[in-house]
């Protein structure tokens, strides 16, 4: 199974990686429990910074699409197929839309929302 990234694509490289690995899982090209290449190997093969691959792997781990097993390496999560269908970006957008709608109904201004959001984010 091969993945391809396009350096000229406006989509960030880590997002391309996340999308392609999720697509590979959804299309059964990689199966639960299958080992994945190390961050260094993938970064060297794609000639990108290892931090970029690390970021993609962290996001995939957060979404429970892959799991890290210490020195043994990184593997496809047992529930990867179900988890890769969950679109966290779409979920967070709908949650925020609902919250912002409520705030606006209550008369909260945009700048008040921005300041509060930034304060809460910084304090957590």
């Amino acid at each position: 199974m091969q993945i391809t990234i396009d350096m000229d694509d406006p989509v960030p490289i880590f997002s391309q990686l996340v999308a392609q690995i999720k697509q590979a899982v959804a299309a059964n090209k990689v199966n639960p429990g299958d080992p994945l290449p190390s961050i260094r190997q993938l970064a060297n093969d794609l000639e990108v910074n290892s931090k970029t691959v690390s970021k993609a792997y962290k996001l995939l781990e957060r979404d429970a699409v892959i799991q890290s097993r210490g020195y043994r390496g990184t593997f496809v999560h047992p529930d990867a197929k179900e988890n890769c269908q969950v679109d966290l970006k779409a979920w967070i957008t709908s949650e925020f839309e609902e919250l912002i709608k409520k705030m606006k109904e209550a008369g909260v201004t945009d700048s008040e929302m921005r300041i509060t959001f930034s304060n809460v984010l910084n304090n957590n």
Binding site: T4, M7, V30, L36, S38, R40, D45, E47
Partner: protein, 288 residues
Amino acid sequence: MWIELIFFSAFFSQIWLISYHYPNRILQRMDYIFEHYPADKYAKLYPKGYEKTVAGKTLYKLLNIAFLIIGLVIFVSIVVAIHLGKIQLRDMNFVPFAYGMLQAIPFLLLEVSAIKQFKLMRSINSESKRHADLSPRNVFNYVSATRLFSAIIMFFVCIYIMLSLNDFHLSSDISVLIGSMLLCNGLFVGLGYVLLRGKKLDPHQSSKDRRIMTSAVFRSYTSVSILVSVFFIINRCTEHYSIYNWEPIFNSLYWQSVVLLSTGAMLKLTTPKEVNFEVYRTSIPSNS
């Protein structure tokens, strides 16, 4: 006299194999590539330009012809000198080795040139799309456990035999031999690690070809590592049992085996007909 005849056959075989047979096979392979994958359609294959590549081929050919002539001159001189009784076979033990080093020069230049070519390929590569395999590479994907562990076991067996023949006394010559073995095997481990985990040497190479090439290189490394251990055991045995007349024969056979198991194995395992040269095509025509 029969031992001299064995030496003459071994040394002649060394001259023929390393300075004629394998260079010819490499030149034939170059010609095949030049003919079937011309520079106008496969420009990525010639980062230095076609003329410079042909000049490199000519230099390689001329060097091998020169070393072939030198080899034949040395061979005739030895035959005459031994026949006239001016020298003895035991005085010749350095000749196959020293001549072997000379024979290795064109192969070394070829390797250096290939590395430079790949470096240039990477620097002028303007393709925005990059590919990677979604499976981890590990050493046992390319070489069998039996083969790898045989090389490791042979390394320790060799050290044990060398020490036992010297009453387990670590003399300076034994230290040098162990040091050279460590250096040689360390080099193989380092190069193997780079192949396995490092960046692709050839940016255009398909993943299938990379797998085949890596596998061939690992097989060659393990074979040569085993051979080095065997050679060192024989080297110490000839000294210990005072069979000095056999040493030049073993030295000559050692060089031939090294080339047979490295260049020979690479030529056998990687055939140009199976290589995907389409990745080097300048512009891939559309299907419509």
